[in-house]
Subunit: 136 residues, 2 copies
DNA sequence: GAAGTTATGTGATATTATAACGTCGCGTCA
DNA sequence: TGACGCGACGTTATAATATCACATAACTTC
């Protein structure tokens, strides 16, 4: 679980981190930062959140591998797998906006290609655009 | 050449399109939209350009396959190959900011994986982060 | 050259993200 | 316990990126 992984790493599981992660889990889809800001205080006695609060939480969660940023959407999504921090790949539906995390199993090949070109890879991100099963 | 490809397609090779493409070619590296805006008028008698001018040119050039957007950098780069519109992959150096277009040769595999999951792909983008040969 | 279409110019505004700085909470150690 | 140090948070402001809306200009076709 997220909190455990966080505490094991000696990091604090604070209210904003918890709340942002919770919102992303509930959404089960990519969410924009300003939607998180808007939804942050809905329900309970939580106060409002301003941009730095959300962006700091997102940075932290990304660093922990609990959340991925999808650059082409300017959106953030809870990680779908229980793994250490990893490079994520997504199938992004242009119709409904869903983003399914999947493993294309090409990392070793790509890494080899890159190194053959004199490049030393540290991470990679693959985004496949198209139509999901439901929208096709 | 870019102009030819454009005219063959029945599109106009206008001043903003030409100038923006020229700037990207000269840079030979990813350039941010607002840097294009700033540089647009440098030299000659060209006037100034405002955001819509640059973004429209970038949209057009992307559509023609002459320019790629690199989402994780919010930057744009002239295409390095003479091919019809295609999905581009980049080796992006975190040190010097260079972005080399390369062909990882994994498109068919990824496409098959995606389709096996019920997804119908239309395009894909791969970004590999790391250190280029010069910076390693 | 008049009409229809496409592209551009311009001002305003929307969206996304970060800077700067003070305060709070928590762990540490005298 | 209480002073300190450090990391996280709250708040205001602003930077950086991108789009809307509408008027004007250029090109195409007839
Ligand atoms: Zn993941
Ligand atoms: Zn869909
Ligand atoms: Zn290309
Ligand atoms: Zn480099």
């Amino acid at each position: 679980m997220a909190e455990g992984r966080c505490l094991e790493a000696g990091e604090r599981w604070t209210a904003p981190r918890k709340r942002v992660f919770e919102l992303l889990l509930q959404a089960g889809a990519p969410v924009k930062a300003y939607d998180l800001i808007a939804d942050y205080g809905h329900g309970q006695d939580r106060g409002v959140a301003k941009p730095p609060t959300i962006y700091r939480a997102l940075d932290f969660l990304s660093g922990m591998g609990l959340v991925h940023r999808i650059p082409s959407l300017n959106a953030y999504v809870a990680c779908a797998v229980d793994e250490a921090v990893h490079s994520a790949s997504f199938l992004i539906c242009d119709c409904c906006g869903s983003a399914e995390e999947f493993d294309p199993k090409v990392e070793p090949v790509v890494r080899a290609q890159a190194e053959h070109l004199g490049f030393r890879p540290t991470a990679m991100a693959l985004e496949v655009r198209g139509l999901c099963r439901a929208c096709a």
